[in-house]
Amino acid sequence: MRLFNRILVTLLLVAWLIIGIFGVLYAFRWLGYSIYDFPGQVRASSFYRGTVAWVRSIDAGTPGPWTVIICVALIILGLLLLYLELWPRRPDRVRLGEGTWATRRLVAAEAVSAASEQPDVLVASARVKPLRRGGAKLGVSVSARRGTDLAALRQGVQEGVRDRMEAVGIPISGLKVRTTQVDPRRAEVRVR
């Protein structure tokens, strides 16, 4: 995940540039600017008072409960943003080998097709989770009519999907099959 995109970085650098220019003007007293006049020019006296009071309360070891809560929340938020920024993105395609990829849609469609070949399956769907090391994790959900032997169906779907993926050449690291029983009249496909 990349939170700090080009627009944000551009705005940050522009702000940095402006601060730098004014820093130089104030530091060398160019164009009549003096660092002593800065708080007055930005009308920061009220802000200063609040800030000084807050810093003194921290220094004295008597921060208010809301101060502690906000500081902890900011620390957690900062760590979370840092984690999201540094953690590499999950691939959105399934890597089959060096420089070879398949779309998640393709893998899901193959899994659904293989699962639907089982005689008792009314409806099938699949979720694909590409792995960074290559291959994918598959979650297949199938529905069958009431009274179906779900354990046998699960095993049949697992074998069918694994065989199809092996034949097509898609490496699968984990395959979970979820079975449910439905009323055939409510199934989204024609009952066989």
Binding site: G97, G99, T100, A102, T103, A109, V168
Partner: protein, 102 residues
């Protein structure tokens, strides 16, 4: 053979790849259009970048060829034209072409 512009290179690679047995057509990409753009025209299915070339294909099913093997044949065909750029192959979809198309 050496193509002049990225668009011509994309077109040459696309035509070469379509001749690989098991390739049904060139793919179009999933979220963004996979294409190489030139002045007033584009070629969909091959993305020619500065360092790498991405070839999107739709594989025929059943072709009897596993996808990684098909991809390596596509890469081999594309690499001949790729001017030492890295070739990545993306299989966008499978197209049922035989009796299974009910």
């Amino acid at each position: 053979m050496s193509a002049e512009s990225p668009l011509q290179l994309a077109r040459a690679i696309g035509e070469a790849v379509l001749g690989v047995p098991g390739v049904y057509s060139l793919g179009t990409g999933r979220y963004a259009e996979a294409a190489t753009y030139g002045p007033g025209e584009k070629f969909v299915g091959v993305v020619v970048g500065d360092d790498a070339i991405e070839v999107h294909v739709v594989a025929a099913y059943p072709s009897g060829t596993p996808i990684p093997e098909l991809a390596s044949r596509v890469r081999e065909r594309a690499t001949r034209l790729a001017r030492s750029k890295q070739v990545n192959v993306v299989v966008d979809d499978l197209m049922v072409t035989a009796d299974e198309a009910v």
